[in-house]
Each structure stands twice: as C-alpha cells, then as structure tokens.
Symmetry: C2
Amino acid sequence: MADTAFHQPGKPGYILTMGEILVEIMATERGQSFREPGTLIGPYASGAPAIFIDQVAKVGSPCAMIGCVGDDDFGVLNVERLRVDGVNVSGISVIKTATTGSAFVTYREDGDRDFIYNIANSASGHLSVGNIRDDLLRQCSHFHVMGSSLFSFRIIEAMKKVIETVKGHGGTVSFDPNIRKEMLRIPEMREALDFILDYTDVFLPSGHEVMLLASASSERGAIEEILKRGVREIVIKRGKDGCSYYDGSAEHDLPALRVDEIDPTGAGDCFGGTYIACRAQGFAIERALTYACAAGARAVTQRGPMEGTATLAELDDFISHASEQSHG
Amino acid sequence: MADTAFHQPGKPGYILTMGEILVEIMATERGQSFREPGTLIGPYASGAPAIFIDQVAKVGSPCAMIGCVGDDDFGVLNVERLRVDGVNVSGISVIKTATTGSAFVTYREDGDRDFIYNIANSASGHLSVGNIRDDLLRQCSHFHVMGSSLFSFRIIEAMKKVIETVKGHGGTVSFDPNIRKEMLRIPEMREALDFILDYTDVFLPSGHEVMLLASASSERGAIEEILKRGVREIVIKRGKDGCSYYDGSAEHDLPALRVDEIDPTGAGDCFGGTYIACRAQGFAIERALTYACAAGARAVTQRGPMEGTATLAELDDFISHASEQSHG
C-alpha cells in the first residue's frame, strides 16, 4: 500500500541526512556583480541537506544530520541553528584545518542566479565514511540523499554505506537529484546516481530532472521506467506549477499557492523535508503534498535559504491566508 | 653606502612579490557577529602581497606578482585591479579546481579585528615552485616576501627558490614578517623565517615584531643583532607612532600623519610598497620614509584593504593637506 510507505508504526527512528553545510552570502541588488564591491547580506545558514533536515525538525520528526563544518563562526551559526530547531547535531564534525563552506549568490536581471561556491575544498569536502556515527545509523529509519552532496568520490562512498545500512535494517531512502547536467558526463557520478536510484523509495525530482536518470523520451515514460526500478513514490516538484505524485496506481496533481517570490533558494529542500516528515508521521499522501507545496511556496517569500523553514502551524496559517487571496 | 642600497642604476628590473590573493568581505557595523546575518560590504581586492605590489605600481615602479586565483569573479576582480593599476599579472595562475581565497573581517567594539579566512584551502594554497615563471625571475631586481604568505611548506619552498635566484643575480630582498607568534612554535616555520632573514636586505617589521626573530631582550639589541646578520636597512612600522629607520650608521624617526582611522587593513602593506618603490627609484631615505608614512596614514582613511593605495601625486596632496591641519 503506497499510502503507508513511510508509515512504519512500531519502527520509530530518525530521519537522517548527510552532506554539505554552508553559509550563504547574498548580493542585495538584482544584477549586482561580484567583480566589484557592493552591499551583501549574510551569513545565512545553508546547504541543501541542512535546509531539508531543518524543515523536517520543524515539522516535528526526530531527525539528525551528518556533516562537517570548520572551527569558525560560520560553523557555529549553522550547528546552533539546526540544534535550536530540533536537529540532532551529534553527527556534525568540526574540521580544524578547513573553513565552513560558503556560497555567494547574486540574482541576474532575468531572475537566474550566479554562484561562487567554496564547497569541495571547504570543511564539507572532508566528509567521508569516517564521519558516520554508528549510533545515528542504528536509530535511522529513513535516509535522505541530496544529489548536490555527491561532489567527491569519498562522499559517494559514505552515501553508499549509509544507504546500504539503512536499507539493510528495513529503513527507507528518499532522493532529490538536485544535480547539474554536467555531473552526468562523469561516468562514476552517473554510476553513483544509478546506485542511489536503485535503493530509492521516494524520488523527489524537479520537473526538468525527471528524464535525466531515465532512458525514456517522455516524462510519462520516465515515470513508468523509474517506478519499474522499484521506486515507490515519485513526487515531481514543479515550482510555481505545483507538484505531481505518481506511485503506479494513484496520481495527484496539486497547484502551487500563489506568492510573491523574494528568494527561491531552499524552496525545493523545504518541500522535500515537509513531504518526508509528514509521510513519516503517517499523513496521507494528499495531506503531505498539500503541506509540502505550502512549505515550498512559503520558503520563496523569505530571504535566506533556510529562513523559510516552517512548522505545521505556520504552514496551516500560511495556507489559510493564501486561500483567502486566490484560488490556484 | 646605505642610501643607495636599492638604487641600482643600470640595473632596472621588476619589483616582484609572491603570495596570497584574496577578496575581503567586511561587516559594516562595529561588534557585528558572523554568527547571524547582517549587512556586509565586498568583495574588495586583498591579500598582503597583492596590496603591497599594487602600491608599488601606483608609485610607478615596474612590478609583477606571482600567485593563484580561482576561476571565478573574485579572481577576475583581483587580477583586473592589479593589471589596471600597472602590475604585470602574467605570473598569476587560474586554478580551475579551487575558489579564490577570502577573508571575512568584523571589527570588535575595542577596534580589534576578527577574521574568518579561507586561504590555505583556496586557490592561493596551490601556489608552488611550478607557478614561478622564469622570465619574471630573470627580470626581477627586487623581491618582497610577506610573512603572511608562508602558510604551507610548498610555498616556503617556492619562496626559497625565488630568493636564491634573485640574490644569485645581484637582486635585493625585502621582508615584512607580518607573522603570528604561533607560527614561531613550528620548527620548520622558524627555520624558514631565519632563512629569509639571512637573505634580507630591507627588513620591515611592525613594532612588536622586531624582537620576534632576534634573541636580544631589547628592541635596540634586536636591531643591532639583525644588522649584524647582514640586513642593510631596518624600517620599523609603528602605526600611529610613525616609523624608525636603522642601518647601523644613520637613524631616522618620523612621526605619523594624524588621521581619522576608518580601516587599518592594508596600511602596513601600503607603507612597505611605497618605501621599496621609492628606494628602488633612487629616493633618499628620508624622502622614501616620508612617502611611506603618508601611504600608511592615507590607507587607514579608506575602507577596503587595497582601496588606500596611492600615487606619489596623491601622497603629495595628502601630505600637504595633513600638514595644514596639524603638526605631528
């Protein structure tokens, strides 16, 4: 029964994720260049898996993160933020010889974003099998993988170990590909994505990503192909066009709530965290999707990648205000 | 004759430096924490040797820099800035797999600064013997070493090679220790500093650094000890207390120009660049010291580490305005 894929009564445990922890520094003006000084704002807590797990904590599910920060105030900012919001941070290591990762972001006139990243050579690049705490693995009932985290072979190795362990004791895995096309040209990266998809229970691609990991030439064909591989639920995030759900029998299409976009960064991660946490708490599919859509929509109204994470009460409030204003 | 230590008529050539190239991001408020979002300003061109060589170029001496930046807008900002100001940037490599170095700086209420650095794991950390261009070495008549650049053994190895080559063909070396005390506890670092001092013609310490590399227990004793080692000129930078010059026969003490401090970062580098460039152009000691003091004072009135570099005309103007207002 698809509707209980995550609902595992008698098997409570952590929702776990692993990957990059960053600060984000944002340009304040549209079209602002990083080739000259300007006004910036930050540091904001960031990193796709960190945003995801913060949202899981806000929805009220027990959760933990494995990652690395530097011995600096950027690391303190991130770890304290996650801890205060309810994430078990015992799996976050402090790397003395590296700086906490960072992303500078500026918005082009057309709304696209340009980034300057320091991730692979930051503390987050030190993440390896050695950082995996066995106690967290034992207590983990669900593991979430962000494709953005797969930037080194030693991280891929660590991901494989966690996936195999969690699945080995009956846990589930979700996967948000969140990848750049160029990654698929690296054979080892493509192989890693295939490996992860083979173990994935819940697949959370953005619209354009559905076909990246399938050979089918249509979205519908790709969905069927991925379900045949053993994925139990596919939720396609379509941004301002809402989301779609497929499990081979049921299908749902939900419109997005209409909002004024302030900052899209982190919206997909908030969507994913909400969906996974709601489903883990036994919410029916449509209810979980409704909250997930609301979390994504609410996130884009807040400046800062992790500033849009929200509790269910905040999402209820947001939904009721949004539906007063329009019908999607 | 001490007065002609740098004046090598018939032997023109580049003033060369080598080391870290960074962007600096500044907090805008005093006491601002990097543990929460706030308003920042940047990126500014930075890196002690980069500031030094930019100042040399502004004084009008032929000059070049060896260093590494990432393949990003922070690198472009730095390289273009140096190029436009007249520095030969052919020795600056673009490292595809690394990000341009960065320093976040915030000012405490007491005026002290707190930094979050990404240098050793940035593009600047890739600097090695392989980045040294032989054509630049051949044309180099003077090499300047910043102690801040000695953060890896492979950089120290590169520094030794440049020093030996430049001295081998009759060039001169200046050295601004610019070091943290903790570096002296690392035996290889202490050995490297001793090596550099053995080859140094012009030593440019800050006041508190004079005794760090000598065994004497007084500043006077340390000066004598360092001159005995073969250093020809010692210029001690004393910040708002001016500067002092020693060469074993002549001594000069110059007061500082009185200014309102906006941002002290880079002032010592501007002082050094001005002194070395003026002396290389054959200026007498007192005239070179006067310009150097003015360059340091003017630099602290400008926000941004490299924003205070100035031409001799700008320094003349600055000196005449400053002397209208007070007598130091």
